[in-house]
Amino acid sequence: MIPRYQKIVFGVLLVVSIAMATLLVRLRERAHDRLLKGEDVAPTTAPAVAPAERATLMVGNDMDGTLVAEEISLPLPKDPGARARALLDKLMEIYAGAGATHPVPGVPRAVLQVFLLPVAEVGAGKVRARLAGPAGSGAGGLLAVVNLAGAFADGHPSGIQVEALTVESICGTLHANLPQITEVRFLVDGEPRATLAGHADLTRTYLTTEAVAAGPEAGVEAGMGAKP
């Protein structure tokens, strides 16, 4: 015969266990939703309270194969990675617009993410990261890994010049606004891809410095340094 108080204790423990399990599942779902929401929205949506800032976009021109510096004003997030993505989103918006000098079909979220990493150096037989502060602090050169959407790459016009201009305008825009970015690599849907649309090599690391050295004021003829 089970005493009555033990039945009550067992019942209470059972109810508490079920309640805790339910709470745990709900919290897990909420955390998952928050993560997904953060990935979708945080890097692109500039805070409404952020003041508009001046930024320079290196805009390609298919007619003469040049990059032309274009000054714009827009609110930008403080985080360098999110800032880089917001700038590239604006650049892609210009390319997708009517009358664009470098027309590229627009897709929602053409740039999925921009990751900023310290530039790796090869020295004394081993690869080591160049001494730098946290990503974005600019103490050393940064490598920007630009993750493009597959739909953007698939719909991109095919040709050496048109593809090179897209790649170089991305590199030039990043370097013009975040000078600490010295190298850029590309991924498409998170995976390495041989070319953008059959021509521009996406397996290489692009150096941003050479386009800037030529000077954006007069327009930079397409052509950037690359290291294998």
Binding site: M63, Q161, A226
Partner: protein
């Protein structure tokens, strides 16, 4: 790196006796990386390598009227081969039909020409931009070819970048002046010179440029002459042949000067 033996019959060879416009009369496999397979016999000849981009299941860009880039590049290659052969050049083409070769295989064809190719042209076509775009590898130039015994495959072009830039200048000049002759054609062709990372060309151990043909557009960006226009293509091919003839003359003059007792500038 794949060896050429894996990709048989890559090189098509045509000589002076080839019938213009017809497929190459004879074909033989080019050499493998270590020269195991028979070399294309080009000793003593001025060899030009023509690389018609894309082919097979790789159609390249879609041009006006749904024409694939691979067909336009092949047409340009065949026409240019005929013209060059008639002018006494030895021509090696990477493809003569609708086959797909990877970029390494194309570079292997150029790199295994017997005495070394004097010029390599990679032919492309696009719907974007205007006029003809001429590209040279963006690799930083290194010392002359003789200073190193081996060249890294992916950056072999770096030893030839300076000569490639000179070749690009010659091609640019010929294209820009192609409308001056008063003959039939589409008039002045705007040409742009630029540097870009060019897989395939970056591995070529010879002066190499990529030539991309785009429609001719007016100031309002509207297309005035399509890439598929036969007169436009003919004018481009004539200009390229003229450029290579000038390149050959300049190379021979330079060789004469370099010889002991040769002419001084």
């Amino acid at each position: 790196m794949g060896v050429l033996a894996d990709v048989p019959c890559l090189a098509q060879r045509s000589g002076n006796t080839a019938v213009p416009g017809a497929p190459a009369a004879s074909a033989r496999p080019a050499a493998g990386p270590a020269g195991q397979v028979g070399q294309v016999n080009t000793a003593g000849r001025f060899v030009v390598v023509l690389d018609a981009a894309h082919g097979g299941d790789d159609g390249g860009a879609q041009l006006n009227g749904g024409v694939a880039e691979k067909n336009v590049t092949l047409a340009l290659s065949v026409r240019l081969r005929s013209l060059l052969t008639a002018r006494g050049f030895q021509v090696v083409t990477t493809r003569e039909g609708n086959v797909n070769l990877d970029k390494d295989a194309r570079a292997q064809v150029a790199n295994h020409v017997g005495a070394g190719a004097a010029a390599c042209l990679s032919l492309h076509a696009t719907e974007s931009g205007s006029g003809v775009h001429i590209f040279v590898s963006s690799l930083a130039p290194t010392g002359p070819r003789g200073s190193t015994r081996f060249l890294a495959w992916k950056t072999a072009q770096s030893a030839y970048v300076n000569r490639s830039l000179k070749l690009a200048g010659t091609v640019n000049s010929a294209l820009v002046h192609s409308g001056d002759t008063g003959t039939a054609g589409v008039g002045q062709i705007a040409a742009t010179l630029a540097r870009a990372s060019l897989p395939g060309v970056d591995s070529m151990a010879c002066p190499a440029v990529a030539v991309e043909v785009a429609p001719i557009r007016g100031d309002d960006r509207k297309v005035e002459t399509e890439v598929t226009d036969p007169e436009y293509q003919a004018q481009i091919v004539e200009a390229l042949a003229a450029a290579l003839l000038e390149w050959k003359t300049d190379s021979e003059t330079d060789a004469d000067r370099a010889r002991p007792g040769g002419a001084t500038p």
